[in-house]
Amino acid sequence: MIKARVTVTLKNGVLDPQGKAIEHALGGLGFSGVDSVRQGKVFDVVLETSDRARAEAELKAMGEKLLANTVIEDFSVEVI
């Protein structure tokens, strides 16, 4: 079994109103040193294979085909 984490973030230059709202809320809680917040998604995926190279290739395909919308999002794959 291989455990992996796929992280999806908005591309640079894509406006993130949710991140902005979170940023403002942090300011409201007294966290004064926050320069900016960008929000995203995390997927923890457990694969049945033990072949690391194959797992990475599969996860990359999953990111491209479903987990991320590559029009607006980037993703990274990390085998844990």
Binding site: G13, V14, L15, P17, Q18, A21, K65, L66, L67, N69, V71, I72
Partner: protein, 224 residues
């Protein structure tokens, strides 16, 4: 012309769409469930209605766009069959790659349910020929993720190809869409996606009928 309506779990405007198409075309549309892959040969117009397919899980329209019926929709669209996606249907067409760009969370972060004004930005499409160029029509919107976005190059290309069918008038843009985009067509001109709901403004009982000409156009009921 005969229409078909795609059905997915979580859509909620399907009955409105079926009623509108039935009233305007004079015959009930074929209904096609998400796992079916066969759409009748005599169907000239496929419509994906609005709602919240798959509860908007992952991203609006993301799961629906990958269901078996969408492969059939893609093949039919490539052969020239007309396709309309309204609201969630627009999101599904974008996620399926049948139209360029993406729809993001409204800039206000709020669900908007109100009437907007739309300018007919291109009256030379098969969907808008029943309107005049620049005509401003009323139309209801109801969505949380209608903020049209694409990269600068794609946006320039869409504009250069006159692919913007409808724009919100500047003072009624409900979601922050780039260039006030409310609806676009593909390059070939046979696939339309739009956030507003023309099916909810087709007869006096709705308080107006500004949406009717869109379906009359798509169904070939107006002179080109």
């Amino acid at each position: 012309m005969k229409a078909a309506v795609i059905l997915l779990p979580g859509l909620n405007r399907d009955r409105d769409m079926i009623a509108a198409l039935t009233k305007i075309s004079g015959q009930a549309p074929q209904t096609v469930w998400q796992t079916e892959t066969s759409i009748d040969d005599d169907v000239d117009l496929i419509v994906i209605p609005g709602g919240f397919s798959y509860g908007d899980y992952l991203r609006c329209g993301a799961i629906a766009a990958r269901m078996p019926v969408m492969q059939t929709v893609r093949e039919k669209a490539e052969k020239g069959t007309r396709v309309i996606g309204v609201c969630n249907g627009f999101q599904i067409l974008l996620e399926a790659g049948l139209l360029p760009g993406a729809l993001m969370r409204n800039a206000s972060l709020k669900f908007v349910c109100r009437e907007v004004r739309l300018e007919v930005a291109n009256a030379n499409t098969v969907f808008t020929q029943g309107y005049s160029q620049g005509q401003v029509i009323r139309c209801p919107v109801a969505h949380h993720d209608g903020n049209y976005f694409t990269d600068a190059d794609t946006l320039a290309e869409i504009e250069a190809n006159n692919q913007v069918a409808f724009r919100y008038t500047a003072d009624t843009n409900p979601n922050g869409s780039l260039n006030n985009i409310a609806g676009i067509v593909n390059k070939a001109g046979n696939v339309l996606g739009m956030m507003p709901h023309p099916e909810n403004l087709i007869e006096p009982a709705h308080g107006g009928s500004d949406g009717r000409a869109l379906f009359e156009s798509a169904l070939g009921l107006v002179e080109a």
